[in-house]
């Protein structure tokens, strides 16, 4: 407080007479304080926004938190490990199989055998019993 004391003009004569300080609080420093807190807050938001905008895209898979020794272990096996586009192949195989299970067509025309949708096959099986296949 000594610092603040040195620079203030000291109590007015009136205050001294009354034995207490009668001047009003100066609201200016308070208002300035509030303005600055919010100003800094907004600046911080802008700064964070900028940071996020800059780093966006470069953050990809954060789910891997293996320890260092485990990561080296991961790199031990020789290079081309998994296929290039595993998802695509999986999707293709499922799509082809589903299409097959939903369509009609010949399996063996000579033997008069056809493939039919699985829903229909289930109906036929219920109609003719388990041995309809033989």
């Amino acid at each position: 407080m000594s610092h603040a004391h040195a620079h203030s003009e000291g109590p007015s004569a009136e205050s001294l007479a009354l034995n207490h300080e009668i001047s009003d609080a100066r609201s200016q420093p308070v208002i300035w304080g509030v303005v600055m807190v919010f100003g800094v807050l907004i600046l911080a938001f802008v700064f964070m926004g900028g940071l996020l905008a800059i780093t966006a895209g470069s953050i990809t898979d954060a789910s891997n938190t293996l320890s260092d020794s485990e990561v080296t272990q991961l790199q031990l096996p020789p290079a081309p490990r998994l296929e290039q586009n595993p998802r695509v192949d999986g999707d293709r195989i499922i799509a082809e199989a589903t299409a097959r299970l939903e369509s009609y067509g010949w399996v063996n025309e000579q033997a008069e055998r056809a493939h039919i949708p699985i829903e229909r096959a289930m109906e036929l099986l219920l109609e003719h019993g388990l041995d309809a296949v033989k």
């Binding site: 296929e83 595993p86 192949d89 999986g90 195989i93 499922i94 199989a97 589903t98 097959r100 299970l101 369509s103 009609y104 067509g105 010949w106 399996v107 008069e112 055998r113 056809a114 493939h115 039919i116 949708p117 699985i118 229909r120 096959a121 289930m122 036929l124 099986l125 219920l126 003719h128 019993g129 388990l130 309809a132 296949v133 033989k134």
Partner: protein, 201 residues
């Protein structure tokens, strides 16, 4: 006078000022979070193998869950593979739908949705998976599929621990439907369907 009353009121309130401090004590003890009881898949330091879920001793079965005489449990009638569903299982649309969902979950990764042995895993790995669409497997008893699921065959593991007997029968029945769908005698089909077969749609 007023003054005195006000003050004593405040002191009384002030005496209770420690109460909010109790809030700090909340959630400080966690003994009810980890109670001395076992939950499934928990680690145990009581049993020597470290499992809370102890596997049943060898050659035992849970009570009332197994009957060596029942085709439902064994897939066999008097020692021979059953050539029909056991009496407890009704062949109906619900059974086939159930079998389809089980087949797609447990068998399709290897055998493929169609059953041609070209599932995604078979495609990925150096694994030769038998196609279910061969004359041999079309003429075999249904009990055979039950038996393969229960005991495994060759390189295929047993699925008995994951698929209960009722579900195995549902899968067996569905495999039949699958076989029919890939090898239907056109005599069974309607004229309209024949058109579609010819058109290949």
């Amino acid at each position: 006078m007023m003054h005195a009353i006000r003050r004593s009121f405040f002191t009384r309130v002030a005496r209770l000022a420690w109460l909010p401090l109790c809030l700090l004590l909340v959630a400080c003890h966690v003994d009810m979070y980890d109670q001395p009881k076992y939950k499934p898949n928990a680690v145990s330091n009581f049993f020597p193998d470290g499992r809370a879920m102890q596997p049943p001793p060898a050659n035992t079965v849970p009570m009332n869950s197994y009957n060596p005489e029942s085709p439902l449990m064994t897939g066999r009638i008097e020692g021979q593979l059953a050539d029909q569903l056991p009496p407890e299982i009704k062949l109906d649309a619900a059974l086939l739908a159930h079998g389809q969902s089980r087949y797609n979950a447990f068998c399709a990764p290897c055998h493929g949705l169609v059953g041609d042995g070209k599932g995604v895993i078979a495609y990925r790995g150096p694994m030769t998976v038998t196609s279910l669409h061969s004359d041999r497997l079309r003429t075999v008893q249904v009990g055979y599929f039950f038996d393969v699921i229960t005991n495994g065959i060759g390189k295929m593991y047993s699925y008995a621990s994951r698929i209960p007997p009722e579900d195995r029968w549902a899968i067996a029945a569905y495999v039949r439907a699958l076989q029919l769908s890939q090898n239907a005698d056109i005599a069974l089909l309607t004229e309209a369907e024949l058109q579609q077969v010819r058109a290949g749609r």
